[in-house]
Symmetry: C2
Subunit: 247 residues, 2 copies
């Protein structure tokens, strides 16, 4: 599990990354503009679908307090969605059009990973939140100043899943046998996330180029995509281990 | 449908109501304290269950924008819940315990009024939001200064259902036959709401006394309860007529 110190280091690394200019300058390049609209659309739909699923999974909660904790995460995701949506509007894009290409992969992910019970719901909330943070951080360094500010602002409003960590630990302490099942579940979540991400990479060239090299790089490099996914997978593995789940 | 002017008038009327003192003074009376904890518990569970149902009903939305509009209402209800929950905490009450007596009536209401399609979902969102506002306004004048400030603050964050009004008008304009069905639906929503409210009145003496007469009145008066419900029903009828639905 990452510490606040890790996060500060990551943010410092982002700040050290040389600026590629502001939105107005970078968006003069139609390929860059298209890539960022893709990115904002993907993030916006990701947040909206996370809202939906967390609100749904809150039904599995054994107590009112637990339900409210997951509902609180859902409400936070909605506010993230709203910020991304408004940015799309602001730069003259149609938010619905920008989100549409990512609806099917994200809906598939959630359909394939509907939690069977409350502990699975907690692990999914935590894993989903963490992977999203990792991805926001990876992508932030490749963006123009204005888009990066937005992405970091949305990402900074995290920590809503921290309650899940404690609850999962309690559940495993109370019944160690569920640890094995939840470890398997954690692997499955990461596997489905990677599989849908690969679909998106295969279908969205401009976005993929942005992800692997930023505005400077034009060559599509599968090795770089793989490296980014590996970094996110490694972070996931460390978190699962810290949670007491061998992944 | 009420105008901003109506709302200002109502708030002015509330302000003209003589103060009964602050929370510390009034809560020295254990019956008053119990009644306000009941009220905050009922409102908190009402907001949490509204969050749940709106998030669920958002699935019926025909477009992403429509889904996001209902999800936005759900997120707003969650923030209302959070304010009420935190107030219960602040005055030393257990929020879950305070909410528990109202879980069954509110869950029953939502179970009996699950919308069959998107127009029914819109009418329910609008009617629910409006009845809640009416109730907050009715009850505010009977409260100590601190609790009234909280209730008016939560109530002031409304208007999230206004998009529903326009959408329902469009749906009726496009297919006038659904007007009859939605009018019936509006009556059913009000009927179920009244029926569950009567259950609560019958079971929660302290709360009922507060609702009908404020801290000064101790005699339980069914006529006064009836009058309050009538005022809310009349406001509902006017709103349905303004929406083009004979109620």
């Amino acid at each position: 599990m990452e510490t606040p110190q890790d996060r500060t280091d990551d943010l410092r690394a982002n700040e050290a990354h040389p600026s590629i200019g502001d939105w107005a300058t970078c968006a003069a390049d139609p390929q860059y503009r298209a890539a960022v609209l893709d990115l904002l659309g993907a993030l916006a739909y990701g947040e909206l679908s996370a809202f939906e699923r967390l609100a749904e999974d809150a039904k599995l909660a054994p107590t009112l307090e637990d339900k409210a904790a997951l509902a609180g995460m859902a409400a936070a995701e909605f506010h993230h969605y709203r910020q991304l949506h408004d940015r799309l509007d602001e730069v003259g894009a149609d938010p619905t059009e920008a989100m549409q290409p990512f609806a099917e992969p994200l809906d598939s992910f959630h359909r394939m990973t509907a939690p069977a019970d409350w502990p699975e719901g907690l692990v999914k909330a935590y894993v989903g939140d963490s992977i999203a943070s990792d991805f926001y951080r990876e992508v932030a360094v490749r963006l123009d100043d204005d888009t990066r500010d937005l992405v970091l602002r949305v990402m900074a409003d995290t920590g809503h899943a921290e309650f899940a960590v404690e609850k999962v630990r309690e559940a495993i302490a109370a019944d160690p046998r569920i640890g094995g099942r939840l470890a398997l579940w954690g692997r499955r979540l990461m596997g489905e996330a990677l599989s849908q991400a690969q679909r998106v990479v295969a279908e969205r060239d401009a976005l993929s180029n942005l992800l692997i090299g930023g505005v400077e790089v034009r060559g599509f490099d599968l090795v770089e995509v793989g490296k980014m996914f590996n970094r996110i997978t490694e972070a996931h593995t460390r978190r699962m281990a810290a949670l007491g789940l061998a992944s």
